[in-house]
């Protein structure tokens, strides 16, 4: 059994335009494809990653347009589809005026007080 890693993502929209991905979500998808076992916890500003209906299209510098814009919500959905448990901190949502129904389906919303129990379910916690 591979070690179970919890990816705690706190920084939101880090280089998402030039990368056309969230760096950690991308890495998790790639490592999941290579056989790794993961969970993802979105906290702080990174809870915005899972909001439905984001549309960052239209970026262009001169005549060089970004052809494939970032679709963070779709990437989160893809993670869930690959069996990755994705959790969001409830208080971080509330502080930003977000509701669970604003997010993509399949996420787990958990209170801060439940984080220690979540951490216990993993062999390692990686804080990004």
């Amino acid at each position: 059994m591979p070690k179970k890693i919890l990816q705690v993502v706190e920084s939101a929209f880090r280089a998402t335009l030039e990368e056309q991905d969230d760096t950690v979500v991308w890495l998790t998808l790639a490592m999941r494809g290579a056989g790794g076992e993961f969970g993802v916890l979105l906290r702080g500003n990174a809870v915005n990653t899972a909001v439905r209906g984001q549309d960052p299209s239209g970026l262009a510098f001169g005549d060089r347009a970004l052809r494939h814009h970032t679709d963070l919500a779709e990437d989160i959905t893809r993670l869930i589809g690959k069996g990755v448990r994705v959790s969001v901190v409830a208080e971080d949502l509330a502080e930003r005026g977000l509701r669970t129904e604003d997010l993509v389906a399949g996420l787990e919303t958990i209170p801060r007080a439940a984080l220690p129990d979540l951490f216990e379910k993993f062999d390692q916690v990686w804080h990004w």
Binding site: P2, T23, A30, M31, A34, W126, W128
Partner: protein
């Protein structure tokens, strides 16, 4: 060696931007000094930490010419860590994320490193006593 451990470090920052790169190299250096095996997964801007074309410069503000400034580039520090590993018997497996290298044109790294992918990080994780992520903030 009974207490010979294997640690994996995931680096994300480009060099010269903040103190996290220095902290990472200090931790790696200490592990190597102890003879522990170290894996490094250089991700995103961290592929520039060992970029071969880094060039030292003089510092006129401080009145230093090139020799006096003796500006250490991070590639030299990485090379020094690799040399230290030769002396202590530590194995350093430093992987440069291949896609990160390509998108930055950072293919020229110092000798002793290798190109890899997230699959290497999976393997590192399985083979390590612990993993420390030092991420861009």
């Amino acid at each position: 060696m009974a207490d010979k451990r294997t640690l994996t470090f995931v680096l994300m920052d480009p060099p010269f931007e903040n103190a996290r790169t220095t902290t990472a190299l200090r931790l790696i250096d200490l592990a190597v000094k102890r003879g522990w095996n170290v894996n490094v997964f250089a991700y995103e801007g961290a592929v520039y930490v060992a970029f071969a074309k880094q060039t030292p410069h003089e510092n006129k503000v401080h009145g230093h010419d090139l020799a006096a400034e003796d500006h250490p580039n991070t590639k030299e520090w990485v090379a020094a860590i690799l040399a230290q590993a030769e002396r202590t018997g530590a194995k350093v497996d430093w992987v440069q994320c291949g896609l990160c290298v390509d998108e930055r044109g950072a293919g020229e790294c110092i000798p002793g490193l290798r190109r890899g992918s997230p699959a290497d990080l999976v393997a590192f994780t399985e083979a390590s006593d612990n993993v420390l992520v030092i991420a861009t903030k």
